[in-house]
């Protein structure tokens, strides 16, 4: 089998139920900007957490999925989905005998795919699972590694990747001196989308490396009870700080978020106080977001928080303290009491939408 000269190998994350994760369109879009995307999915190891690296398969993953879909069919379905997002070909690796091993089976599969395809750029998501597969793969093959990339281009000397450092305060570009460049792409950072391609699935045989791996004893999927958009990818984010004072007051914030179809975010202090789950935390040690609109309610705007949101296109701030640093970066700031301003804002938005 021959592959395009400009092939870019793309490792796609899968959800616990075995579908392509939401990072797939951006990854394939990024690849198409610099070449022909060839996707790799690791079908046997889907259900469990994220997964290319998770390795949880039928043994303790999701028996229901296996009951209705044989692995080969699942591979075809994934190849079809990847083709719709721009993959010119999809390699389907089965890693049935590696059930329950962390990351290593996925690295073995990526190595086999790279040997097969001969791509000069290998992309993975900068998700927790994806970046560790890329990390071990780069270390194993002694390839140059560029992580948390927000843009890709190609010049006459090869692929050039763009990074955003210190919360967007600096933009840097890097490249490999020679050889394959392994890249992890920041989820949600790529807006380009690739054109759909005719589906072409191909089974990939993987020789296990036998490298020691941690065992996955169990996996508990995080249940998102909310119908709101995911924080990382949301076009609008409404965030609150510890000034909320009590989790009982959360509904006021939620109503505003829903009027804007926004995801909910929180400052670290609000998370530490237990007003919000950790997955809502925006900032240095939480999630970095770049939405079209970021509404900061009762958030002072410490550097820790700002680095996670200052690349938002428009920032609105509401704060009691006229000297709060958040006002230095807000496009529109109101000094006042959030408990009167926020409900009025929600009403006014509803009225304008009606």
């Amino acid at each position: 089998m021959t592959y395009p000269d400009d092939a870019v190998l793309v490792l796609l994350d899968l959800t616990p139920s075995g579908d392509l994760a939401s990072t797939a369109p951006g990854l394939l879009g990024a690849a198409s900007a610099i070449g022909s995307p060839v996707a790799l999915v690791i079908a046997g190891s889907a259900a469990g957490g994220g997964a290319p690296g998770s390795g949880i398969g039928s043994a303790d993953g999701d028996p229901a999925v296996d009951a209705v879909q044989a692995p080969a069919d699942r591979g075809d379905a994934l190849a079809q989905a990847a083709a719709e997002l721009g993959a010119v070909r999809t390699l389907v690796a089965e890693s049935g005998d590696a059930v329950g091993a962390l990351t290593v089976p996925a690295v073995d599969a990526l190595q086999a795919a790279a040997n097969e395809v001969g791509a000069d750029v290998v992309l993975a998501s900068h998700s927790i699972e994806g970046r560790e597969v890329a990390a071990r793969f780069a270390a194993r093959t002694k390839a140059a590694l560029a992580v948390d990339v927000v843009g890709l281009a190609r010049d006459e000397e090869g692929a050039v990747v763009r990074h955003s450092a210190f919360g967007g305060a600096y933009a840097t570009e890097s490249a490999a001196t020679f050889g394959t460049l392994v890249v992890t792409v920041r989820p949600g950072a790529i807006e380009e989308r690739a054109e759909a391609q005719p589906p072409a699935a191909e089974a990939l045989t993987v020789a296990p490396s036998g490298k020691p791996a941690a065992s996955i004893a169990s996996f508990e999927e995080r249940v998102e009870t909310s119908s709101r958009p995911a924080l990382r990818e949301a076009a609008a984010v409404v965030s609150f700080g510890v000034a909320l004072g009590s989790p009982d007051r959360l509904p006021v914030i939620e109503e505003l978020a829903d009027s804007l179809d926004a995801a909910l975010g929180a400052s670290r202090a609000a998370v530490d106080e237990g007003y919000a789950p950790q997955s809502w935390q925006v900032g240095q040690t939480g999630v970095s977001v770049s939405p079209s609109l970021y509404v900061a309610i009762g958030i002072s705007g410490a550097t820790q928080h700002r680095v996670g949101m200052q690349t938002a296109k428009t920032i609105v701030a509401i704060n009691k303290d006229p000297d709060a640093p958040i006002f230095d970066i807000a496009d529109f700031g109101v000094v006042g009491d959030q408990f009167t301003i926020v409900p009025q804002l929600t009403e006014a938005i509803r009225a304008r939408k009606a």
Partner: protein
């Protein structure tokens, strides 16, 4: 089962995130002179995990390891003050601006030389936010990795822990030797006591070069990731700031509407 272990903890000197941080526009490196340097908070938490284990298991040895400029000695002294027994500082001008591959190679060589049972690190530093070094290190050392752990239990023959994964929580276990990383869900490092601070000054701190570790930073055979440009984004400027006079909410809605930020009714 509890037993004495030898644990290497990777720590890092980083610019204090509570101040403004800068990149040198000539070199693209973190300008360490332009902001206060501190022990990375997550590295402090990793030291705390190791030291807590050592306190409960006599004979356990904790070694803090870093690669960085001369000034990084301060971060190592902080780790020693928390309770690490000794420290290793890989300091070499040829390593300034080292990419991830070279950094992993150096740290792997330093750890190998110490012959440790467990390598412990933070899941990601607050400046680089790469989150990949522990996995790279595990690959180079030929060891399993158990990373991004919200909870960790160290025993004499292995570790177990809860990995915060992309879609949920994963229970992991691995025998030793292994590489592990923890998240900031684990407790903050203790505040060093006066006694800890004075003891830290007397604890052994070894300084090594790349050559001491048999690593060639300028090896032209090894592909590297290199920086080709760096630019400061123009600082974001504040826009309109008004004081609420009873119509603050309505004023924001007007602003959002003018900027087409209010969606269609759904």
């Amino acid at each position: 089962m509890s037993e004495s272990l030898k644990i290497a903890v990777l720590v890092k000197e980083v610019p204090d995130t509570y101040g403004d941080r800068h990149l040198d526009l000539e070199t693209g490196l973190a300008d360490r002179g332009a902001s206060d340097a501190v022990l990375d908070e997550i590295g402090g938490r990793a030291v705390e995990v190791a030291v807590s284990y050592a306190e409960a298991n006599e004979g356990t040895e904790v070694v803090a390891v870093t690669m960085g400029p001369e000034s990084a000695t301060k971060a190592l002294r902080e780790a020693l003050a928390i309770g690490a027994d000794s420290a290793v500082h890989v300091s070499d001008e040829a390593l300034a601006g080292a990419d991830l591959g070279l950094t992993a190679e150096v740290l792997a060589a330093a750890v190998e030389r110490l012959d440790v049972d467990l390598v412990l690190a933070g899941n990601q530093s607050t400046d680089g936010l790469g989150g990949v070094l522990p996995a790279m290190l595990a690959e180079l050392l030929g060891r399993p990795h158990a990373t991004n752990l919200d909870a960790i239990e160290i025993a004499g023959d292995g570790i177990t822990g809860t990995r915060a994964s992309d879609f949920g929580a994963m229970t992991l276990s691995t025998p030793l030797p292994a590489v592990a990383s923890i998240t900031d869900r684990l407790p903050d490092a203790r505040f060093p006591s006066f006694k800890g601070n004075s003891a830290a000054k007397k604890k052994p701190l070894e300084t090594l070069t790349a050559a001491d570790l048999g690593v060639a930073p300028e090896n032209p055979e090894a592909p590297r990731s290199i920086l080709i440009s760096v630019a400061a984004r123009p600082p974001r400027e504040g826009g309109v700031k008004i004081t609420d006079e009873g119509d603050g909410g309505a004023k924001i809605a007007e602003f959002l509407d003018q900027n087409r930020l209010i969606g269609e009714a759904s």
